[in-house]
Symmetry: C2
Subunit: 214 residues, 2 copies
DNA sequence: GTCTATATGCCGATAGAC
DNA sequence: GTCTATCGGCATATAGAC
């Protein structure tokens, strides 16, 4: 006789709910300020039950941190893959920036928790997470380096620093962006434009920046 | 007879030491993860003694938050005041950005603690701090608006968003800048240049900046 | 899978000696 | 100005019933 498949019960569902709740609480109350009791309560469970799904508080926070980077990383890779190989600088930037920011703000609790608490988490947890973060940073550096090799980016500046500036500008949006006020695509376009062309009134004219100083 | 002036004991000294220690611990362990016992121990005191200088943990964190913004604000105002009234865009940016970043990284524990824990602090504390933060944001907005009025900034983008982008790019430095690797003035110049002119190889054409790099 | 019950320990804050 | 002693409360984690 066939054995009826064992119901997965709701193991996967509970696990996911715990992670989402934990991310939201970590974001608002920090690592130490988020208690297993609070996570459990918001999942309609008791604190002890969490240990069926996770070995410890640190196992939960480690997974929350990884999700916060991985979702953004995946979204950007996928978006950039759709670009033609010779896409202009500003289009490439707009595409990557919008993908980053859309994933960032879509998984707000995970990404914001990541940014806020990474520096406050026990060292072993942070160390375990750093490799993923560094891979994502190197991905962007490779992207910009490729643009420079195709003469789309001027020389003279350190692109690893540019990546840091860009990450700061994008990630800070977790602290100020509210959907109601402006469309994400507009925000992303504006940042792409700023990074590509700067604030300066356009160099348009023949004489260019001559009158800058005068 | 003259009464000998009562020694200030070391009230002011202890107070300052408590604030500096608290800032460092808040930065690394978060709001909830920083205990009064830990602060006191690093000041060679006992936990109860802190209550001679501060009414509560929240009184300490409130002052740490304010210092983190006030020092940067003061430094930028002072630096900008030295500029000639018609200073070009890139010079103004370089001056303000460098002043912001220098103060930011000089008071590292206060500013970094501010950025990291503001979202995790009890609501009354956060609310009490927000006015100062907003004043500083408006100061930068006024700065950029003034530049636009003098036709140094092109139209078409929202300058309040530009301020957010810029704050993100600058403040993120608390997470990656290490003095050993590069001079702060170089970092600030590079960001000013990025914000003023962008990454794009220069609008190439006729004359002007034809080539930065070569 | 989730519960109850509990072990062990640290938390913020206060009172009062010195 | 700093100490000791202590209050009531809540933390993570474990053991074992259901």
């Amino acid at each position: 006789m066939t054995v009826a498949p064992i119901a997965p019960a709701d193991a996967a569902g509970s696990r996911q709910q715990i992670l989402e709740t934990a991310a939201r609480l970590f974001r608002h109350h920090g690592y130490a300020g988020t208690t297993l009791r609070a996570i459990a309560t918001e999942c309609d469970m008791k604190a002890g039950s969490l240990y069926y799904h996770f070995a410890s508080k640190d196992a939960i926070v480690a997974e929350v941190l990884d999700i916060g980077v991985q979702r953004v990383f995946d979204a950007v890779k996928q978006a950039v893959a759709t670009l033609p190989p010779d896409a202009p600088l500003v289009d490439t930037l707009r595409c990557a920036i919008e993908a980053h920011m859309r994933a960032l703000l879509l998984s707000h609790d995970f990404t914001s928790a990541n940014i806020r608490i990474l520096g406050q988490v026990p060292e072993p947890v942070r160390d375990g997470h750093k490799a993923l973060r560094r891979r994502y940073e190197r991905y962007w550096l490779t992207l910009l380096t490729g643009l420079r090799q195709r003469d789309m980016v001027r020389a003279g500046n350190d692109l690893s620093r540019t990546v840091f500036f860009l990450f700061g500008a994008m990630n800070w949006a977790t602290e100020w962006y509210h959907e109601r006020k402006s469309a994400l695509s507009v925000v992303a376009s504006e940042l792409a434009d700023l990074v590509a062309h700067g604030l300066h009134t356009h160099d348009t004219l023949p004489s260019a920046r001559v009158r800058d100083g005068v």
